[in-house]
Every structure is written in C-alpha cells, then in structure tokens.
Symmetry: D2
Subunit: 338 residues, 4 copies
C-alpha cells in the first residue's frame, strides 16, 4: 500500500527501505534535499515541499512522521492543516505520550486520525525488523496493518509461542490501546532499557575492579582501607566474560550481544568519554511512576546515573565536601586526573 | 571421561544426564538414596556412601560437588580427607568466592586442586546447556575440558562472533582465572540478574498502573492527588506487551522470553505472593562493589527491594509514620487489605 | 494588622492563635461552623459564609487560604470573584508551585496579587513559630511583613549568624522570588525531609537487626546464610541511642529530637502499621529534579520506599518470583505472618 | 582521674584539652614530637616513646587510642604487649567494629579490657563536647565514667527529656553493649550522616537548577527537551534558604546550621572540587545492612554517589554510551568543560 514518510534520518530512511523491499509505495519528504534524493534513487517518490508531499498521497492519506520529539508537535500541526477527514497521521518518533493524547483529541474534531507508534530496533531494524507499539483508533490501526506487518520482524525473531490471545504480538507489533497507548508502552520500554543497561554496566565495572587488591592504596583518614586484598586479585577478561554469558546464561539478551561485540573490539572503551545522554523517555517513565505511585528505584537509579555522568552532581558533591570540612576539618582530595 | 557427582538435586541430576548423553561415565552420590537410584536407572554408577563414592573413582579423581552453599564447605573438607594429591574437587554450587579462594589455598598443601565453577542455566540447562564460569589452576581446568565442553551449550546458543582471542567463551564456558575467579564472575552475573529482573518488573508495574486515572482517589491531606487523570486511562494487556517486546526490540532477552510465558498463563500472577528470596550472590556482589569502591545503585536497589518484599522495611516504615505523627499530627491510613 | 484566614484545620487555627496573641485582627471562615466558633470564642471575628468573610475585610484585603492542596485552586477562584484590584490572596497550603505560577498570571489581569507561602512547623508552630518560604510580587510581600514576622519564630530559634545579606532569613521567613518561588522552596524542603527521615529510619532498622546472629536461620537454597553471626550479637537500646545522638553528635536535628521522644514512649512502635503516606511534595520534588536533569537518588529512594510501604511493589515482586520460578524452579517462601 | 592518650591529631589533641580543663591528668604520646610538645606546654605529661608512655601510667592503666583506622589494630597489639591484667585499652577512632569484637576476645585471655568508643563531634567537640557511643565490659566502662562524663556535652546540648530509663544518654554518652557495640552504633551513625548530608545536597542542587528554564537548551535527539520552561524561572538565593530553614522548619539540624554557614561565605562553593571522600563507616554500615537483610536504599545511594564523585562510574558510563552507539548509532556529546 501507499505511505508517506516525513523525516528521513537514520530511522525514517531505513523504514522506507524495508517498506519498499516488500513492495509498498513510499512518498518521502525531508527538509534536507539530499536525504530525499538518496531514497529517490532507491525507488521512493521524492518530494520537495510539504505541500507536494501531501499532494502526492491518495486519500485516505497516511502520513508517517519520523522526527525529533522536540519538533514533532509543530510539524504535525502543519501537516494537519493540509489533510482532510479520514486521513491518518502516524507519529513514529520518541514523542511524549501526552502529546499523542492531546493531538488525537485535537485532530478528532477535524476527523483526522492520530496513530502513535513506538518503534524499537535502532540501526538494526532494517534487517531485523522493528518492534512496534501502536496506539490509536481501531479502524486506522487496521487500515495500516500491511505497513506494520512489513516493518515488524514477523514471526521468526524469537522462539515461537502459542499465539492465541496475543494477536499480532508474536509477529512483533501490537495495538496497545487508544491514541497515546503506543508511546506510553514505548516510554516504559525505554525506561526498562535504562535499567537493564545500567545493570550490565555496573556489573562489568565490578568485574573490572576485581584486581583492586593489587593496587597501592593511600593510608590516611580520607581513604577507606581495603580490608581483604587477597580476595581482589583477579584480572578478568571482561570481553570474554560478556561473550560466555551470551551462551546459556540467565542474563543472555540482545543488549548483552551488543555489549560483547563492543568489548571485543575495544575492551577499554577508549573511544567513549562516559557522558551518557538521555533523550526523554527515561524521564517520562519516572514521572509516570511518580504519578501512579509505583516504586521504580532501579529505573530511577539508572536515570540519575546518566544525569551524574552529565556533570549534574557537581554542586551536590561540593556541598557534601563543604559540610565534611565544616564539621570535621576534612580536606578534599584532588580529583583523579585533576 | 569419568566424573563423580555429589549432590543430585535439580541442578546436579540434570548435569549428570547431560554428561551421560555425551558418553561420559558418571559416578553419583547423594544423602537421599532415591536420588541416587533414579540416576542409576538411567545409567549412572550409584553409590551408597561417601567412601564408596570416592572408591569407585579412578585416579586422578574428579569430584564435582553440587550442594547448597551453606553446606559445601563442610562436605568439601570431608571429601578432601578421602582424596590424594592430583585429585580435583569442583564446586559447581552458588558458594561465596571467598570460600573458593580459601579452600584452594588449604587444599594446595595436600596437592589437591580446587576448581570453582559458576553455573547458569537453571532448569533449562539439561536441554540448552549450562553457561560455565571457571576458576582454578590451569592444568586441572584443562584436564576437565571434555566435561565443560559437554555441559556448556556449544557454539549454537547465540549468534556466532569471530572467535579469535575469546577462547572457549563462544562455546559457553570460560576459564576466568585462578581459584575463586569462577565464583566471582558468577556472583557478578547474579548481581546483574537481580538488576535486570527488577528493571522488567518495575516497568511492568508501571504498565499495570496505566489505568489509574480511572480509579477513585481519596481527597484528603494524606493522599497525593493525581494531577492529570486523562493521561492514565489505558488498560494495557501486559502479557501481549511482554510478547511483542520479544520481537525486534532493544530489550529482548531470555528473561523476557520467560516473563512473556509466565504472563501469558497467569497475567495476574495469582499463584505468587510477592516474597522474593535472595540466596546470597546479590548480597556478595554488593559487598564486592563496596569493597572496591564501585558505585552500583541499580544492583543495590534491586537487592533492597527483595529485602523489603521479605517484610524487612517494616520497622523503618513505622518509624517514618511515627515521625510524621510527631511533627504534623498525621494519622496513618490503614494498609490495603488490613 | 487585619488578615482573613480561610481554612481552620490544625495549621490554620494555630496560625490564627499565634497572630491574635501578637495583636493582629483575624477574620476567620471555615465550612465547618464549629471550627469558626472555637476561634471566635478566642477572639477572632467569625463569619458564616465566604461572602460575609470577604465583606468583613477592609481594603486592600488580605485573604490567607489554608486548605488541602486538592481544593485550593477551586476555592481561590471563588474568592477571586469577590475581590478587587490590589487585594491579596495568600496560599499557605501544600499546593503545587505550578498552580501558584498559573494563578498569579491569571489574577494579575484583575490586579489581584497572589502570594504563595510554604509553611513548615507542623503542630509545634503555634509555640515555636512557623518557617515561611514566600513567593510573590514585592509590594504585596512587603505589605504582609507584619504578619510574616509574627508567624515566624523570630531570631531565637537557632544559634545566631551575622545577618548581613540574608535579609529576614535569620528571623525565619524569606521572600524567595516571584509567585511560585515560595511553594517551590517548600516543595524541595519536603523532598529533603523525606530523605532525612528515611536516613534515620534505615539506620535505626539496622541497629534493630544488630542481634540477628542470635536468631535461627533456615538452611536452604532460598535463604542467604549469615556468614559471621558472631558480629551480630548486640541488643541495642534504640531509644537510648536516639537520645544520646541528640547530644553533641553530627546528626543532631529536630527530627531526631522527635524520634527520640517517640522511641522512648513506644520502642516497638506498636501503634503504627508502617503504611507511610505521601501528600505530594516529595513527588513534585522528584519531577522537578527530572525536569532539570539533577540527580536525586536519595530523595527518589525515600519516595519509592513510601510507595512500597503502601503495597505498590506487590505486582513487581510477584513478577520477580515468577521469573525465578520459571528459570530455576525456585518456589516462593510464604510471607512472614501469612 | 588519670588517662593516657595516644594519637594527638585533630580529635585526640582536643579531647586531651577538654579533659585537662576538667582537671583530669593526661599522659600523652604521638609519633610526631611536635604534637606531644604542644600539649605538654598546655599541661599534659608528654612522653617520647610508647614504653615511656605506658610507664607513666598508674595501674590499672587506661590507654586511649585516637588513631587512623588503618593503623589502630597494629598499635593496639603493641600496646597490649606492654600492659597487664585489669588494664584498659580504649579505641576512640573510626575502626571497624569487627576489629573491636576480635580484639576484645584476644585481649580477654590476658585479662586486659577492650573498650570501643565511637566519637562524634568533629572539630567542634572541644567546646560542644563529644557524643560517645561505648562498647565494652561493664566494670571497665564504669571505671571510665568520669572521663566519658567530661568528654560528653553534659545535659545542656539539647532540650531536656525525662531521663528515666535512658541512663547517661541525656548527658551525651551511652554504654551500648559489649565490646564492638560502641563502634557498631557509631558506624550506623555515620551511615545515617551520609544519607542526611546527601538529602540536603540533592535538595540544594534542585534549588540551584530552579532557573534552568532561562537557559538555552540544544534541540537534538540526544537532549531531552524541557517541557515547561515557564516553571523554571526562579533565581533562588540558596544561602538565604539554608538560613531560613534553620528557624522553625522540620528539617532544622546541626548539619543544616553548618551548611548555612558554608553557603553564606561561599555560595558557589568555589573552593571545593566535588570529590567526596569516604573513610569506611558508610561502607561498613551497608555491609551490615546486607548481612542482616535490612533494606537501606537511601544510605546506599548516598554512599554510591560518593564513589561516583571519585570517578568510579566512568567505565560503567562508557559502557552505556557504547551500547547506545551499538544499537542506535547515538554519538556521545562531549563532557562539559572537556
């Protein structure tokens, strides 16, 4: 079937490719003409303006937006101006699910359907397929089923389970509820992702420290003594451990597969500085936990570690050093490397 | 080759079965004669006492202990009394790695080798194979290679990676270092497991609360108002979400596969009460993090949540209620169900 | 000076008393006539309706609202209907500071000033005075200075510091910024309060467990062994410890004073069940931390512990038990007391 | 009475001064002769060797050690060589309470008493008095009562409470139990201190960020948008807030008094770098919580924040960045100031 894709970054462009491979007709647009051109050369129908883009679509139009969260709302409003009743806007980006709830309510008055699709799969989705978490009105979601079925991995990506009662979930896409439900589920998905990543990272960091009994340690009142250095004499090959855990252990996962690959190539991770970005969904997950009174200490710890990695603990840490100086005369030791 | 297995519980018995399928000769012993009998009928050489068990083994003997952590030390001492130089004791249980370091030092004087093997795979290991994390002297570990190779999954359990430099890791077993290193790596493995499990559990709990805007909420000074109930109107099918995430999403994993299976059969988890046991390795991981000065907030949060599930927050919570009453006259609301 | 007080609960009534003692004229109103009557008998000018209440106030009117957060907004709107330009509404309750920002903007169009006053001091404020954190336009705050100066403790509540540059802070009240700033600072104050209370409570809980080496402990694979019971043989008198810490220790505080009093009377806290309420400000503090990217792991942990005490971990804990059963056949132990 | 003090650093020297002011006879020794000389000039009986030091003491001797935790054990052994039955060794440093338990058992064979005294009060103890948490045999503790009574603040440091049943606690010293109990209680005291300090520090950090709506924020997929900048427009005077909270608020404390003083002099804390040391007791508290199965998420978070401030998150953070790059092609942003 025909679909319009707007936003041809890493994610959008690959989704177009996956759709075209299955024979779907893709009308594409991006503010960067080079991005349009690249896909046109691969068979997409490129357009040079939002108006031309909408004009090429046949009714009822399906416009898939694959844009940064910070701009999606404004662009969706502009697109909506050009659409008519029964047309569909799909937001496949990492937008806040509140926006989907609000957009859907606003567009309903015009008869336009709003479908929010949480999309996981990253740069690997072109080959592996994308896991899709979908929110929106029933008929719009049904109408788009051929698109979803193509983008999703299909039934082979994980060991099969009996399918009764789970609908399309075993094929990698799921209609989760009304508008907003897709982004809500994707939000929680990313919140979990933060926690899982941090669990691996903390564990690996402990493995790395397994030889700390071999290191010299200052003996002064500002340094906690290592009480039993004989138990910290191991030089662990972390890359090999990540690899072995992939084979039969309880903590096997796709993130572990990636971790093993990363550590094999660069065990010291020299190409990274350790500033971990967060792009919103972890924050929103925590806010949802707070609103609903659900404890989420693990997810919170993983989010706050990212904030700390961005330097945002600094003032708090200075204040603690200042208190220690004030009551005990404790003088700060210099930062490593400072 | 020949191996002696002592401790024929869920794990030990299945390991014997996997070894016998590959043609290894298994001498077995357990204090429970029925466990011995069961395996004898499947082809193992059963014995009725520790002495008979040791007596049936040919030198150099290999004695694999698969016992609860709380008893391993004592039994290992008794076994060692019956062994001679060049014999090998293997501890495949969830013992503390300190014990392995100490045992190895003690047995070295007698010329007996101590090999510690962290074993992951649970009740699925018989078919899937066990992921093995091994510590001990080089030659003993080399001698046991045929056993390890059989118990481990082999090369098919995860997508292949180039094998250079990773040794046997891609086949699911790894010699991690001297005695204690195997249990150290297994300990951290389980610490990670706690964190990963908690991340999924917290996320699922948030999904479950996605309809809390539909619920009645008390309006009083002891209840935080839900500010935007319109955003919490989703009835999420959690089992279907767990299933869809298995297909192409970033958080796909074996634990998620199991979670999806569990939720499909019993979405309300009515057969569980929510008291989560912890059997030691999570605690030891945290202590190692503390000793080595490595921050592990996610792993700590997941461990402490287990403690809370065991009722161990109660006094602290009472004290907070008491403080609130003391400064503000706040009267406790009754516990749900009380 | 004259002030109107609406909402005569624990906080509002005592504030009226403290104001009258200092000679201020208090016009009072509450939907509960008995509350009005009680204060009338002590010298306040009681009123029977919102209209009568406003009618008794001389212009420019100052109306102090001391109401539950969930109703303040609606009542403020109704009051504003009856007011005129240059009148002042003061919100002294635990409202969300967003509401103060929004209300102030809305009322500005009518020329009405909105002043938000975070108030700490609890049931002790009548005698000790209330710590006031104030947001609002300069002249309205200046106009109310006699009221603030009376409600606040004055200069004796803590050891004196040189006052230059800190304005009225050493007397216990502070103009923190424009409308909303008062409630913002109060919100963070309460967030800190959660963390401090939890720190004491966790520590006391550890003291209580100092004799756990004397207890019987199951020996099975679901129970972590206590490795060195000889170090947990202390029967600590927790009430006496709380008392001694009040005298010269670094952790002396008013909350500790209250804790010591509580534990002296009821060391086992038998009158409390351990369900800790949260009334909003801890949640809002965390959301502000998340919005601004500031790590707040301690405040988050203390909030989430309250959620857990309310039973909200249950589904997550069940899911973890279910996973443990699925991969390892681990059977849940029953909850204590179940 | 007579007491021998060994270790004349910040703490030891001031304790000698406080004891001498009350008329006690102090024999002093330190490996640094200048420290001995300073106190000799103030009236102490200085000595030049451990042997001379012990020789000047009358039987039964009382030797108070005030040394870094890392050296206390070795020195205590040397001192014990020179002592006789009924002599007393007092360890007033921040030693691990395990050492006190072990030392006491060892010295008991020789008839020497071991008394462990946790000491809080910091550099202010000389004037305010020290809060003393005492472990050891009854008669030795009774014998030292005049010393403890002098070092402690006495009855005026906090508002009085009825004293029945609390023994000496209202005067600032407490016999907590057998040897080890004093250091155990002090350990938990410091664990709480970590949590309380972190609660203040996190809250202050949020106040500092209250103007973040005024800042420019990148718009890209690696930056979480600030959704409602209108609510983050406050420039809070943090020093003034710390000051006002000291007067009548629920979170008043001695640590807050110090914090207010610190912020008044240097609101930006420019003289600190933010590397927070930890000297052991926070670690030990967490280990005790883990051993006894008591949840301590707040204390853990405060400890791990210190580890992070020491740079120990770096590898974990790099690994998370590496995973994000691996699955999503996310490129790290540079660290601020890098």
């Amino acid at each position: 079937m025909q679909i319009g894709m707007m936003g041809l970054g890493r994610m959008g462009a690959n989704m177009v490719r996956r759709l075209m491979r299955a024979g779907h007709e893709c009308v594409v647009y991006d503010i960067n003409p080079a991005s349009v051109e690249a896909l046109t050369s691969e068979g997409a129908l490129g357009t040079a303006s939002m108006e031309e883009f909408i004009g090429k679509l046949t009714k009822p139009r399906s416009v898939w937006l694959m844009l940064p969260a910070a701009t999606t709302g404004k662009i969706a409003d502009q697109v909506a101006e050009l659409l008519e009743a029964d047309d569909i806007i799909i937001d496949g980006g990492n937008s806040h699910y509140h926006d989907a709830v609000d957009q859907a309510a606003k567009l309903k008055a015009k008869g336009i359907c709003f479908v929010d699709v949480g999309t996981s799969g990253g740069v690997w989705g072109l080959e592996r397929g994308y896991c899709l978490m979908i929110g929106g009105p029933d008929e719009a979601v049904r109408h788009l089923d051929p698109i979803f079925a193509t983008l999703a991995p299909g039934g082979d990506a994980a060991a099969p389970v009996p399918e009764e009662g789970l609908g399309t979930a075993p094929r990698g896409y799921l209609h989760c509820g009304p508008s907003g439900a897709g982004h809500f589920v994707k939000m929680v998905h990313n919140g979990i992702e933060y926690g899982v990543m941090a669990a691996y990272a903390e564990g690996m960091n402990i493995l790395k420290a397994a030889n700390s009994g071999k290191e010299h340690r200052d003996i002064d009142a500002e340094t906690s003594p290592l009480q039993q250095p004989q138990y910290y004499q191991f030089d662990i090959d972390i890359a090999a451990v990540a690899e072995v855990w992939r084979h039969g252990s309880v903590i096997g996962s796709w993130l572990l597969d990636l971790t093993a690959g990363v550590l094999k190539n660069d065990p010291s991770l020299t190409q990274f500085g350790g500033r971990v970005s967060d792009s919103g969904e972890g924050r929103w997950t925590l806010k949802a936990a707070i609103d609903t009174g659900v404890p989420a200490p693990v997810l919170a710890a993983s989010l706050f570690d990212r904030f700390s990695s961005q330097g945002e603990s600094e003032f708090a840490d200075k204040l603690i050093s200042a208190m220690r100086y004030a009551f005990g005369g404790h003088v700060e030791k210099p930062k490593a490397g400072a």
